[in-house]
Amino acid sequence: MLARIREHLAASAPFDRVHHEASAKHEVGPSGQSIEHSNDISLIGLFCEALEAVNGKCTIVADEAEATLSLKQVIDLNKLNRIAVSESPVVDRLMRQIDAANAEVLSNVEPAVLFECDAGITSAQWAIAETGTLVLESKSERHRLVSLVPPVHIAILEAGRIRRTMAEVLEAVNQSGELSRTVTFITGPSRTSDIELTLAIGVHGPAKLHVIVIDDVKQTV
């Protein structure tokens, strides 16, 4: 097939010379050169605003103790009885603090069991403030099904992981050839407009997305 491609490109050469658009230079510099790295605290506000605009929920807490309280509230409020968790260290620390008398907490869950769970809890390795997007890397935690199959997804995000733009995050996940086998970008709950363009939330993925942002940046200010 590559030989055929070369043959067709060669056939085009005489036309390329007379065609105005093709005469434009083909060398394009790498994308993302104008990336500005920012650690602005206002990124948290921007992130939450963008997330809520796409039907996500966002809670900002000061530290892990507050995060535990907030997490417990979400669990109680949504009457979550069966909860699947990823192996993320921060999720593990928070769940240890929660008196889970009423809730069954499962880690390392088989897919078949996940379909019976009320919620999945993961962390997120990065976030994009401009779009309210969570970015999860498979090398950090097994997030693919826990964040997808149960009807509620709760994500714990450290504020220091928020970047302003997609370009910054793309650069971060591909640093020094350490690209995860799967990188998942999540912007709000699952949605569809396939029936008369009417928005319906929670068609195949979670109907609720709750993000708890631990404002660890503020602590150091």
Binding site: F15, E21, A22, R142, R144, L179, V203, H204
Partner: protein
């Protein structure tokens, strides 16, 4: 529900590329379709306008995207080889397929060798293009479409009428009736209830699936990654749950660098659905690293030509391969707005369909499609990768007029037409003849003008000179002004 039984029914005929005129006429008298199209084009038009306002330099972004695509296509052999190499190193299996038949045979073989009978599919225009579902069914494998819109049209045995929202031609009522009939749900007109019925039933399909088939939005040569965008989550399920993932990728989907994704992720959702970003993007690079990791055991990526590589052979046709399948040109097109997607009789409708279908299936089989346009240029204005669709339409019309063996017009007509245009060019490029011609025409039109239009008499005249009939059969010609601009200019008051 018995999908096996239903899918053996013959699909409802929706017209072919060769019956475009009839299809379009049928669509024009379908009031429900016209209501749906009005809602679609107005809503998507407004959402797109809002979404692109959130980008600082939309024009610059379009320029950049096009430059990236041009660079890729000029060196497509190199970037595809790089992509294949990197993807294989990460554990994916790469297959090269010359045409749709090759792809279908390959997928059937992959599935049969692994005894994979239950197959879930996410939305992929490339699989529609090669009629993969029909081929799989003929081999005894029933794939289940899992995108809500695609699933609806699979249940109804129809074809997509839009690249992004495939079931847009169906009303809520029709979908509710379909679900009552095929799935046995309680009658409802509530979209949330219809959606949750789909969720409930399709979850069973996901849970038991042996293999998942998806498309690809972008393939990154630098890393061997594929990126797929969606809103529903069915693509994530299709590519995460089953043991085998098969991704079908047109060879034009490759881009050079990982960082280039930023450009296309800004353009595609805004142009397609008017979102800043769709709910999910999955970047998949090869297979899982460790046995304990999540995801399929095998990832197969099929690189499909199917008529694409020959578009490289001319700079005008080559730009067809820059398309990222956003559907913005459909929504903006005054022809699509009136007749919808099925009238085109092809998998790819609208302006982009009118240019890629004849190139994919042969211009003789779709010779009406390049004429399904008023050349207004709205498609070019909205295209996120700046494809000059009107230029492509004219290029294809020229091929048809010049006559390939399959489209050749009668020799006599060709000679006369060519003679007429030579005369026209000769006269109209000489000022004296041009003015004289104008005077003669003004004299001749005198008796035909009624209420400022050349009406009935003009139609009679056109019968005497048949080629003019094509012009005046559907519209009144405007008469020439009593005085030409040149005359007015000569007689202008001198200050």
């Amino acid at each position: 529900m018995n999908l096996q039984k239903q899918t053996t029914e013959v699909p409802v005929p929706q017209g072919t590329t060769e019956t475009f005129d009839e299809n379009a006429r049928r669509a024009l008298v379908d009031p429900q379709l016209r209501t749906a199209l009005r809602k679609l084009t107005v809503t998507f038009g407004e959402r797109r306008a809002q979404a692109i306002a959130s980008v600082d330099d939309w024009e610059g972004l379009r320029e950049r995207a096009r430059a990236i695509k041009d660079e890729t296509l000029a060196h497509l052999d190199k970037y595809l080889a790089d992509f294949a190499d990197k993807a294989e190193r990460a554990g994916a299996q790469i297959h090269w397929a010359d045409d749709g038949k090759d792809v279908c045979q390959l997928i059937i073989r992959l599935l049969q060798e692994r005894n994979a009978k239950r197959v879930v599919k996410s939305k992929s225009m490339a699989t529609e293009e090669i009629h993969l579902n029909a081929a799989l069914e003929a081999a005894g494998i029933t794939p289940v479409e899992t995108d809500l819109g695609e699933w609806i049209i699979q249940l109804a045995h129809e074809t997509p009428s839009h690249i992004v929202v495939p079931a847009i031609h169906k009303s809520k009522k029709q979908i509710a009736d379909l679900f009552v009939e095929k799935l046995g749900i309680e009658p409802t007109d509530d979209v949330d209830r219809l959606t949750s019925a789909a969720r409930r039933i399709l979850r069973q399909r996901f849970a038991e699936a042996d293999a998942g088939i998806s498309g690809v939005n972008f393939g990154v040569a630098e890393t061997g990654s594929i990126l797929i965008l969606e809103n529903e989550g069915n693509i994530r399920l299709t590519t995460s749950l089953p043991k085998i993932h098969i991704a079908l990728m047109g060879i034009e989907k490759v881009i050079p660098r990982f960082a280039d994704l930023d450009v296309f992720l800004k353009l595609l959702p805004r142009s397609g659905t008017g979102q800043r970003l769709t709910a999910y993007q999955s970047i998949i690079t090869g297979t899982k690293k460790n046995p304990g990791d999540e995801g399929p055991e095998e990832v197969h990526i099929i690189l499909m030509d199917n008529g694409r590589s020959r578009m490289l052979a001319h700079p005008v046709t080559r730009q067809s391969l820059a398309c990222i399948r956003c559907g913005a040109c459909l929504n903006a097109c005054p022809v699509y707005q009136q007749i919808g997607g099925h009238a085109y009789g092809s998998v790819y409708p609208g302006p982009i369909g009118a240019v890629i279908t004849p190139q994919l299936i042969g211009i003789g089989k779709a010779a009406q499609l390049p004429y399904a346009s008023s050349l207004c240029g709205a498609c070019r204005e909205v295209c996120p990768v700046k494809i000059d669709i009107p230029e492509l339409l004219l290029h294809l019309r020229a091929q048809i007029a010049e006559g390939t063996p399959s489209t050749s017009a009668p020799m006599k007509r060709k000679v006369l037409e060519s003679l007429a245009f030579r005369l026209y060019a000769f006269a109209w490029s000489r000022p004296v003849l041009y003015e004289l011609g104008g005077r003669i025409l003004r004299l001749c039109q005198g008796p035909m003008v009624r209420n400022g239009r050349i009406g009935k008499v003009g139609k009679i005249m056109s019968k005497l000179l048949p080629p003019l009939g094509a012009w005046t059969a559907w519209r009144d010609a405007r008469p020439l002004a009593p005085r030409s601009f040149r005359e007015m200019w000569r007689d202008r008051p001198v200050p």
